[in-house]
């Protein structure tokens, strides 16, 4: 019983933090609790949340993926290129997602088969993919994309007044929760992060699982990129720069252990919301973006310190 209580307090930590920050910002800024702002906030959060969901899988296997921002940019640029050439938007988006999956698989292959440390492997591909994006776009934004309803909808649409990106985020979240807790793949993700050797000796093909999590992350990064592309009506060669940091921060704030095997995706959602609320609230309060960075860094530190205390 005692144990159960302890666990739940540790798990509730991020949620309590989110509520606290929300209330404080709500009191300080009148416009924070308006429906408009909340919906706006959810849309802003969705991009980071989608990347961070994938990052959660990666970190659960005791890995890390620094290349998410570059994959986002390259995937978006290629998708935009297809759209600009007049391809059917749905098909172009599917191909874009597949490209993200494959770029992630490249990471996974280097890490699993080449036995390169994830930090190093994705540091290298981060540079390579960014370079490839610049080569492909010639350093210029790709514009003149599709004005079809389905493509416009992704970044700018609303369903029953809720921004479409937020809906995508929630659907993806539910699917991933299911995958993580109800499927063999999910169990294997936790297992290889908990003890890779013991997992292999239990007949788990750890290499495949690793390739799987990086592919998933690549695909989700491009999905986030397509949302941005649709919203801006253009693909920027510098899109997604430094996004890996916010994604990792969301995962860590959400209580997932960087050493793998422990953590929950719902924590990541809360982590992403915390970061989003801080960004949004400080903007409303007209705090300079220089100070915002300091606040964000402090929140990350605080979250990790509290998490350690709770354990």
């Amino acid at each position: 019983m005692v144990k159960w209580n302890k666990v739940s307090i540790a798990q509730l930590g991020p949620l309590l933090g989110l509520l606290l920050i929300t209330i404080v910002l709500g009191v300080m800024s009148e416009s924070f609790f308006t429906l408009n702002n909340i919906l706006n906030l959810l849309r802003q959060v969705s991009v980071n949340a989608l990347i961070a969901f994938g990052m959660t899988f990666v970190i659960l296997t005791a890995g890390i993926d620094l290349s998410v921002g570059s994959i986002l940019a390259l995937g978006s640029a290629l998708t935009a290129g297809l759209l600009a050439s007049g391809m059917d938007p749905i098909l172009a988006i599917c191909i874009g997602l597949l490209i993200g999956f494959l770029l992630g698989a490249v990471n996974g292959l280097i890490i699993a088969k080449g036995k390169v440390a994830p930090f190093i492997a994705t540091l290298a591909t981060m540079t390579i993919f960014r370079g490839a994006t610049l080569v492909y776009t010639d350093g210029k934004p790709i514009t003149g994309l599709s004005d079809s309803f389905s493509f416009e909808m992704i970044g700018k649409g609303y369903v029953f007044g809720i921004p479409f990106p937020a809906i995508i985020m929630v659907i993806v979240f539910l699917i991933l929760v299911f995958i993580l807790h109800n499927t063999v793949f999910g169990r294997q993700v936790y297992a290889i992060g908990g003890n890779e050797e013991a997992s292999k000796l239990s007949g788990i093909k750890a290499d495949r699982v690793k390739i799987g999590v990086y592919s998933l992350t690549g695909m989700l990064s491009v999905l986030a990129g397509i949302i941005i592309t649709s919203r801006l009506d253009s693909a920027q060669p510098t899109a997604g720069t430094m996004y890996e940091l916010d994604a990792i921060a969301a995962v860590v704030i959400g209580g997932t252990s960087l050493s793998g095997g422990k953590g929950r995706i719902v924590g990541t959602l809360i982590g992403a919301l915390i970061i989003g609320v801080i960004d949004n609230g400080l903007n409303l309060l007209n705090v300079s973006s220089f100070y915002q960075q300091i606040v964000k860094g402090l929140v990350i530190l605080l979250a990790v310190l509290l998490d350690r205390k709770a354990k």
Partner: protein, 499 residues
């Protein structure tokens, strides 16, 4: 021996959040005595030691060192009074030299300059090793290059540099080879002759009767008694430890073995083993004996697909099977219980459920989705069958005793309903009650027709439960000995490469 107590612990009690782990325990160690401290896991041995060295504070009782009442504030303080502890997991830093390890934390310097006096450190290290009668360890050697047995010698020498008069050793022989154990006993006896007292914590009965002067037994945190080894017996000590007659140590074997189900031919892995051919029959227990480094574990890991074979074939039910990954072995119905429970057998921070389910996820799922009810059902059946003592299936395996952890590992593999089960040191670090339970499980599996291969470094265990013994020496099989002809001598002869 005249009684000349070095340490006297009287009436020691300790509780952790209301849970009494020690109740009025008495423990006296005489000067120059080797005193065994025995008890099942959880009996309170390590708590008692931690109270002596000041890691825990006692709730009640007195400690006297050389007649003077003392309460130590921690291991450093205890060390200053001549009490050292050598833990089962050795405190050796592999990348440092032997000399650096010996003086870790108490480096000799030129005055207070902080500059190391390397020459003096080397000289004293060499001196301490020579005093122990150890001549094949160089002070400038990297400690990681030494065998476990030699690392242990370094630890003992390290204790002696602090002028230890009492050395507490926790399972000192657990990782030693037969030959190293001999050496080790030799060193211990030399220490004893020099007036050093030893507290010897171990599960190995034979060793304790060979080397210890007295045995103190704890059970469930209570002091059960102290016996002088010449005046007690194996059975009496076991009875004191478990509180009941354990009966026969090994279950009666049925000799109804069937046809050959598992056969390997000419297995080879460069630098580890070659020409390995053997077979196991249905319901047979094949014991695999040999010294550490004989290649026994490597053979089994290769059969299981954890290492890549250079050549050789594996046959199951007369048909050749190709095993490239443990997954292939699992699918073929081969289970493998590793010797390294904590780092290879279990996910230590995960729950009992997750651990047991791991090799069975396929059977418990459809289209990749886990059937949770089926899973829970399987887990609770297995926990009941193997009598895993835990609050529930969600308990972290880290918090279980060694014996219960081992049962979780066994449960993992029972669920795949193996045809062949390989167990590597299945009772290492397991207390005597749980040991017997594990033997019983093995016996029952063999009755159901499972072919069992058991690697063990404990000869009594090999002799007690095997139908046949295969002996390895330096990567080769040197003998197959039938149960009737097997004895310690014949096995040791083959294990050391003799004819």
């Amino acid at each position: 021996m005249t009684s000349d107590p070095f340490v006297q612990m009287n009436n020691i009690s300790k509780a952790f959040s209301g849970n009494k782990v020690l109740q009025q325990v008495d423990f006296t160690v005489n000067r120059g005595e080797i005193h065994a401290l025995m008890g099942e896991n959880g009996a309170g041995k390590s708590t008692l030691v931690k109270i002596l060295t000041g890691i825990y504070t006692k709730d009640q009782g007195n400690i006297y060192v050389q007649g003077k009442q003392m309460t130590f504030s921690g291991p450093k303080h205890a060390e200053a009074y001549g009490i050292s502890v050598i833990h089962q997991e050795l405190n050796i830093i592999p990348h440092l030299t032997v000399a650096e390890n010996m003086f870790l934390g108490k480096e000799l310097t030129y005055g207070k300059t902080g500059i190391l006096n390397r020459r003096e450190i080397r000289r004293r290290t060499a001196e301490a090793l020579t005093n122990l009668g150890v001549h094949d360890i160089k002070s400038e050697q990297l400690a990681g290059e030494l065998s476990i047995g030699k690392q242990q010698m370094v630890e003992i020498a390290k204790a002696l540099t602090t002028n230890a008069e009492l050395i507490i050793m926790d399972e000192p022989t657990a990782a030693l080879t037969e030959h190293e154990i001999e050496n080790f006993f030799h060193v211990i006896k030399k220490l004893q002759a020099d007036g050093v007292s030893i507290v010897y914590i171990s599960h190995r009965m034979e060793e304790i009767f060979e080397i210890c002067d007295r045995i103190t037994v704890l059970r469930d945190g209570q002091y059960i008694g102290t016996k002088a080894t010449p005046h007690t017996s194996f059975e009496e000590i076991v009875k004191m430890m478990v509180g009941r007659e354990l009966g026969e140590r090994y279950p009666a074997r049925n000799h109804d073995v069937g046809e050959v189900v598992f056969q390997v031919k000419n297995l080879q892995l460069a630098n580890y083993f070659r020409n390995i051919s053997f077979s196991v029959r249905e319901g047979e227990i094949l014991g695999v004996a040999g010294l550490m480094g004989a290649g026994r574990s490597e053979v089994m890991e290769a059969i299981f697909g954890y290492r890549k074979l250079d050549r050789g074939t594996i046959e199951l039910n007369g048909r050749q099977v190709v095993i490239k990954h443990p997954r292939d072995a699992v699918n073929a119905g081969i289970g493998f219980i590793t010797e390294d429970r904590k780092s290879k057998g279990l996910i230590i921070h995960a729950s009992i459920k997750e651990n047991i389910a791991l090799p069975n996820l396929r059977a418990l799922s459809r289209y990749g989705i886990i059937h949770k009810r089926k899973e829970s059902q399987l887990i609770s059946e297995l926990m009941q069958k193997l009598q895993v003592r835990a609050t529930n299936e969600m308990q972290e395996v880290k918090s279980l005793s060694g014996g219960n952890q081992q049962k979780v590992v066994i449960a993992k593999w029972l669920a795949i309903q193996p045809q062949v089960l390989i167990l590597d040191e299945p009772t290492r670090g397991v207390d005597i009650g749980a040991k017997k339970e594990i033997y019983t499980i093995m016996n029952e599996l063999s009755k159901k027709g499972v072919a069992i291969i058991m690697i063990s470094s404990e000869l009594p265990e090999v002799l007690g439960i095997s139908d046949r013994v295969m002996v390895m020496h330096e990567g080769k099989i040197t003998a197959f000995i039938d149960r009737e002809e097997a004895d310690q001598e014949s096995i040791m002869t083959a294990a050391t490469g003799g004819a």
